[in-house]
Symmetry: C2
Subunit: 228 residues, 2 copies
């Protein structure tokens, strides 16, 4: 059976991407980062999601991206934009280098595990405008992996699979429902309250809410879904 | 003045690469990883080298690559090959994904610092046979950075500079001597003794010793230079 490393954040997208990949008879190994994000509640969600997917090998790695700065998402006290002030620019919640760093570590772990695939839940349709969520980024990373790894040099390049890349948020949610996923386990909010509950006003909550609405599905997280 | 992030390991190559880049009037910011390497003595060397180069911004980042496994260099108790048993294969000291991960973090930090260059001391002539020390790897990473960063998307792609890529070890050492570097500050050994002194028998020591010999220069570290 092919083995794959899946980047599992605890959010809706990576949960769905992992489940979609699992249909094709691959053994999943999950990789989650504790990267200094303000929404550490994601980590608990990642553990729940991994358990629900029956993943037995789950590596949670400490990697303090707040040290490199440059993002409201890893800076204590920085304001997370609310209510969709879409300026057409890359938003302040963008973490410089994040997906490149995550894929690089996944590639190293995949090489060590003899895994032939990396699965990432990026999406270039209903997304936040981050440069490292686009098809050209995924393609460039796959090209890099061909020359950066022992397997690539030996003629067995690693595949970077992004099964949600061209789906709308509503299509992702419909796929997840079809796969029987419990989205009550996942968390998406960039700015949860002290109890860890989503507030429903950040970009991530708004995309989630709009996706559930368009899919005609009720978000089991209820009022988190941007209804406030 | 252009700003650059330099990957500084504390070894001879990154010290020389940084000094070579500094000639061209760039402001250097140094990035060093505490990555679970057995030769932690490198970290002290990196701090000395950064000070000698007059670098005021030096980020030492914890990133435990031993968690992803796959290398004798980050595995307690694993044997480091000695006396040059060259099999023509990628050696067991290869750390899967290492340079990809290091460049990815450097890219994120560079983006956050508004730096336009990353400097890495890889060398594809007298090297250990790692896939991520070759020109095609550097080129692929540069292509990735074009699409992975805000600056790249906005038309200011980041340059990945590898000034030692095509130099022999002897040429690197001659360049360093010309630049007035004190190689007594640097450390290269994969397998130092309990006091941190190089033993002179690993691949890295052997390459260093052969380089000094070919350059006709005495290694200030003396007997470390593979003479035992």
């Amino acid at each position: 059976m092919a083995r794959a490393v899946v980047l599992l954040s605890g959010g809706l997208d990576s949960y769905t991407a992992a489940a979609a990949a699992r249909r094709e008879d691959v053994e999943l190994c999950a990789l989650t980062f504790q990267y200094g994000q303000r929404h550490a509640v994601e980590l608990d969600a990642a553990r729940r999601v991994a358990a629900a997917l029956g993943i037995s090998r789950h590596l949670v790695m400490d990697l303090d991206l707040s040290a490199i700065g440059g993002s409201a998402l890893t800076t204590a006290g920085a304001e997370i934009p609310k209510d969709g002030a879409d300026t057409g620019e890359i938003p302040v919640t963008y973490v410089p280098g994040r997906n490149t760093i995550f894929l690089a570590v996944a590639m190293g772990w995949a090489e060590s595990l003899d895994a032939s695939q990396i699965i990432i839940g990026v999406n270039a349709v209903d997304y936040s405008g981050y440069p490292d969520c686009r098809p050209e980024f995924i393609h460039a990373f796959e090209q890099l992996a061909r020359v950066a790894t022992r397997a690539g040099v030996e003629g067995h390049p690693m595949a970077i699979r992004a099964p949600l890349l061209h789906l709308s948020k509503a299509e992702i949610i419909r796929l997840g429902v079809e796969l029987g996923l419990d989205y009550g386990l996942s968390r998406s909010c960039y700015d949860p309250d002290a109890s860890g509950a989503p507030r429903g006003r950040c970009d991530s909550c708004r995309l989630r809410a709009a996706g559930f609405a368009a899919a005609g599905v009720v978000d089991p997280l209820g009022s988190s879904a941007g209804s406030r």
